[in-house]
């Protein structure tokens, strides 16, 4: 598979302090890369760095072109959708309006078709079509956030802890949908997750972050098999 996103020597931080100290990783087209690690390891910052939401050094190449120094809006318009921590839905707007905003940058005629397709994936959202997003449950909001991101028709989807704060059953449902995305939409995914087991099940490649550096990387399936790694790094 050709490389979609290639990151080399990525450093980033807030103010004078660096949170990331030179990361190298990649996401393949249509593939899933998982970023694992404990709280504060720098996973969220990594996603923000790709989206141009924090100051960065190093190379971030997307489809052979650099994203370095570009504004978030421009990066998004190149086909990178980000479901941030806290989900980034518009609480005050209706589900429908959130959908419309998801497709904001698109001018093609298939938007309505995409609405229908995603409503098929997320029947619960269809039921709440005219409700304010703020009134949805956490799981529904996470679904809305993912739907909103997919409406961009991205080539790369950045997901920041989609399972955070959700009941196990809902988490299962959401991961089911992500498998579907992978299978049907051909979108590359960069997944940040604390639930290593679930993430490794879905991912092709996995990187393990510790305090801003990658301490281990490899094929997800292999890492999953390797009990030593699991014990020492992933703690399960």
């Amino acid at each position: 598979m050709p490389t979609l996103l290639e990151v080399k020597g990525l450093k980033a931080g807030y103010g004078p302090t660096h949170v990331l100290h030179g990361l190298d990783f990649r996401v393949d087209e249509g593939g899933v890369t998982a970023l694992l690690g404990a709280n504060g390891a720098g996973k969220t910052t990594t996603l923000r760095a790709i989206c141009g939401m924090v100051r960065t050094e190093g190379a971030i190449d997307f489809l052979g072109q650099t994203l370095q120094g570009r504004a978030t809006e421009d990066i998004v318009r190149r086909g990178i959708a980000h479901v941030p921590d806290g989900r980034g839905t518009f609480m005050e707007l209706t589900v429908e309006e959130n959908f419309r905003l998801g497709a904001y940058t698109r001018r093609d005629r298939e938007i309505q078709a995409d609405f229908d397709r995603l409503c098929g994936w997320f029947p619960r959202l269809k039921q709440r079509w005219r409700q304010q997003a703020g009134t949805l449950s956490g799981g529904e909001q996470q679904m809305l956030a993912i739907a909103r991101a997919l409406l961009l028709r991205p080539k790369l989807l950045l997901l920041d802890e989609p399972s955070f704060g959700l009941a196990p059953l809902i988490v299962q449902e959401i991961f089911g949908i992500m498998r579907r995305i992978r299978a049907e939409a051909g979108v590359g995914i960069l997944l940040v997750e604390q639930n290593a087991n679930l993430a490794l099940e879905l991912a092709d490649l996995a990187y393990l972050l510790e305090t801003g550096s990658i301490v281990m990387s490899g094929i997800a399936a292999e890492i999953r098999q390797d009990e030593a790694i699991r014990r020492s790094y992933l703690g399960y």
């Binding site: 989206c51 939401m53 504004a71 978030t72 809006e73 998004v76 318009r77 959708a81 980000h82 941030p84 980034g88 839905t89 518009f90 609480m91 005050e92 707007l93 309006e97 419309r100 905003l101 998801g102 904001y104 940058t105 304010q132 703020g134 009134t135 949805l136 449950s137 956490g138 909103r148 961009l152």
Partner: protein, 290 residues
Amino acid sequence: MDGLAHQIVAGIATGGIYASVALAIVMIYQATHHVNFAQGEMATLSTFIAWSMIQAGMPYWVAFFGTIVVSFAIGVVVERILIRPVANAPVLTMVGVFIGLLLIIGNATGWIFGYTTKVFPSPFASDRPLFGGLVSAHELGSTLVTLAVLTLVWAFFRFTRLGLAMRAAAYNPRSARLVGIRVGWMLALGWGMAAAIGAVAGMMVAPVVFLDPTMMLGILLYAFAGALMGGIDNPAGAVLGGFSVGVLENLAGAYVVGTELKLTVALAIIIGVLVVRPSGLFGRVVLSRV
């Protein structure tokens, strides 16, 4: 009881003034989530620009639309130069900039155009008063203009892609960026539109209250009260609120507290609404579950 009916009709006529300014306030709130203290001064400046154009011999409607365009540009420029740099600063800084803007625009208007009261023409024939003289053709006409602007604004926010994007940018700029909205320009656009609506309000108000640099100070307060009453993010509510404040003010002034405390009535409405029902009487309550 005849007097009561007259007070109500006269209140609606005055309320039309508040409604148009309230609409401008709500507009800028929708687009930027700021309460612009300099709104009144900006509208007054716009009206003076229109006045100068008419003085220079332009036909009324040319000046009218010309002013809207110029005011829009002024709004955009103000946002770019003064608001953008402090976009992430504390609210205190923001309020400070608004106050500075109020001082600068207000005093500059007085300096350039002088403080003598000026006559501003009305596009509506004024020879046949309506409702037994309580409402002039101008007041009726300007109310229609306000309602037309309201409809346009509502349709813009409700149905257009740009309108939705502007609301999104105001509610949640970070998320708006993540769907590809150019948030900075949305804010500038919002300021431009608010300035343009303020200009319309000013041009509708000036034939009634006469044009001078302090024309808006009192009106602004009533308009704030109207906007809050209707729910600060609800254009239709703001217009309704503006009319209600006009009527309330007259009734309270004529029958309850006396005319010396009309402004205090506005103050009471502002505090009352904010404390008791911050979303306004007609505003939606925003629920959020985290």
